[in-house]
């Protein structure tokens, strides 16, 4: 058995890349990583520690043009005889895995939360109904594609650095031109963040977000918000989490002044630990949270930031 893991390395290698390689290794197969992007060979060789036996790097594409990357992966599948392709279920995988599924006539498991079982041949669990249930997807084709939900398995270092080979995957022409890329400096991407501090209408006005940002900074967390807060322009759209915003699964989610409407919970209920801070004892968030603080965000948030500062001062 042979598996291809596709990783984009333009942002360096993150935890999700190690998760994907670990997952592929656990399928019991020989793992070849295919990557595009700018990481240097020394960095890429590290993927061997997680179980890759080889990294193929195609440096001919400099955008995430879905047609080009699909062609490159398809070439690698053909050359290695791989029967499975694994992605980490990020924004790039969401745009490429479906194309590859059609090209290879390979059934796609979108957002897998577990390793496959032999049930009916090959069956994998995914989140459905915005995290309110799990669905078991049976893949009927010989070739399979699995896009792994981040934070679903623990990366395991098992080996040592592996070979990195330059690869020409026949990317072909691009029909998409990148005009500019904006990445806010120093901010943690929300969907990658291990900790998230999120706030809602309870903050009352955009100028009050300082106490949210202070806490996020002390925690090394990303910031998020509820939908109405993004809709009225208090916070940028890319912070909106929920059923119609980003779905996130951090280890820690702190919700301040958010009621906990069902549509909001749908985007955050995969979080490992939830803390809700609200003045209303009846707020639905207390039913979904692990820890609750019945109190005013304007007092509780600064107090929590202070308590964390004390904790970090004594524990570092």
């Amino acid at each position: 058995m042979s598996t291809i893991v596709y990783i984009t390395s333009s942002n360096g290698l993150g935890k999700s890349a190690f998760e994907a390689v670990t997952y592929a290794k656990k399928l019991g197969s020989d793992v070849t990583v295919v990557t595009t992007g700018s990481s240097d060979s020394t960095t890429l060789a590290m993927l061997g520690e997680w179980g890759a036996s080889k990294v193929l790097v195609d440096r001919s594409v400099n955008s995430d043009d879905t047609q080009q990357i699909t062609r490159i992966i398809a070439t690698a599948v053909e050359q290695t005889g791989a029967d499975t392709v694994v992605f980490s279920h990020d924004l790039i995988a969401k745009s490429i895995a479906p194309r590859l599924s059609v090209r290879l006539k390979a059934g796609l498991v979108s957002g897998a939360t577990s390793l496959p079982t032999n049930d009916g041949g090959f069956t994998c669990s995914v989140n459905v109904f915005s995290g309110k249930a799990f669905g078991n997807v049976n893949v009927k084709t010989a070739k399979k594609i699995i896009s792994l939900l981040p934070n679903s398995i623990q990366p395991e270092a098992i080996g040592s650095a592996c070979a990195v080979e330059e690869f020409n995957g026949g990317a072909g022409e691009t029909r998409m031109k990148v005009l500019s890329t904006k990445k806010p400096e120093g901010e943690i991407p929300l969907t990658e963040a291990e900790r998230v501090v999120s706030a809602g209408r309870g903050l009352k006005a955009p100028e009050n977000w300082g106490i949210v940002e202070d806490l996020a900074k002390e925690l090394g967390a990303a910031t998020a918000c509820s939908r109405p807060v993004a809709d009225i322009g208090w916070r940028p759209h890319h912070e909106h989490v929920g059923q119609t915003g980003f779905a996130i699964r951090p280890n820690l989610y702190i919700a301040a002044g958010i009621s906990g409407a069902i549509q909001h919970l749908a985007g955050v209920n995969g979080s490992k630990v939830i803390v809700a801070i609200n003045t209303d004892a009846e707020a639905p968030f207390f039913k979904a949270a692990d820890y609750g603080v019945l109190g005013d965000v304007f007092e509780v948030l600064p107090r929590l930031t202070e308590a964390l500062k004390k904790f970090h001062a004594t524990n570092n």
Binding site: S95, N136, V137, T181, T244, K272, D290, Y291, V293, K310
Partner: protein, 246 residues
């Protein structure tokens, strides 16, 4: 300009999620269906805005049974010109995308728009699959779309930021928040929707690649532990010692 907007039905966001037939089927009992919010708020509304500024025709398409006609009428009420329903159960994303691609190929569209995902299966698959079937460029999760002649300028979400890209028509685009603002249909729209053309087409033969075989509900949450708002040191200690997240 000919625009095709792919719409799907999804259960109302407040629906109770339950399963029947030994957990193999979604329990539709008491469930209200709506147009999938991403398809309606972003893809359809942006298509209508384009039509209003540069002219053209907006066709909506769905793969579904007669039970979905009410959802189609809702989308027509918001302003689409006509609708196509491929008369089949949308068994998997590949089946669905193949049907839509086949129709699009036969009828020639300049722009194909979808929502970023459905809120029931959250697969984010159909748009990319249509693009591959038609050998067209695909820009996913676009949050802004401007057009000048046959050239589109798009903003799209990337990990940790946004990217501005340019593509030529024809192209497939999946739409995310920021693309447009939700429109509430008015009485005139609802009346007009009743008589707008809805074409029903037989499906082509396609073998699905995947199938949902069963469903499970997540384990229920244990009770929330309440912390004294004056004692945040206790919360920090719990997050460190008990939850082990800091």
């Amino acid at each position: 300009m000919k625009i095709l907007v792919c719409i799907s039905k999804s259960p109302d966001t407040t629906s109770k999620i339950a399963f029947t037939d030994s957990s193999t089927k979604f329990d539709e009992n008491g469930v209200q269906y709506i147009v999938n919010p991403y398809d309606e708020w972003y893809a359809l509304v942006r298509a209508l805005e384009l039509k209003e500024t540069i002219g053209g025709n907006v066709t909506i398409i769905t793969v579904g049974t007669a039970a979905d006609d009410s959802v189609i009428r809702k989308a027509l009420a918001i302003g689409a010109d006509d609708a196509v329903r491929i008369d089949a159960d949308a068994t998997d994303a590949y089946f669905t995308a193949s049907q839509i691609a086949s129709y699009a190929k036969a009828n020639g569209f300049d722009l194909i728009l979808t929502g970023k995902e459905t809120i029931n299966y959250n697969g984010s698959q159909v748009a990319g699959m249509i693009a591959e079937e038609l050998d067209l460029p695909f820009v996913s999760l676009a949050t802004k779309l401007d057009i000048s002649g046959t050239k589109l300028t798009l903003e799209k979400e990337i990990v940790g930021g946004v990217q501005v890209v340019e593509v030529e028509l024809p192209v497939v685009i999946s739409c995310a928040k920021g693309m447009a603002e939700q429109r509430i249909p008015n009485m005139r729209g609802i009346m007009a929707a009743r008589t707008k053309p809805l074409t029903i087409i037989a499906p082509i033969e396609v073998t699905p690649l995947t199938a949902f075989v069963s469903y499970t509900m997540p384990a229920p949450k244990t009770a929330c532990k309440m912390i004294d708002p004056n004692n945040m040191d206790e919360l920090v200690a719990l997050l460190h010692n008990e939850a082990k997240v800091i």
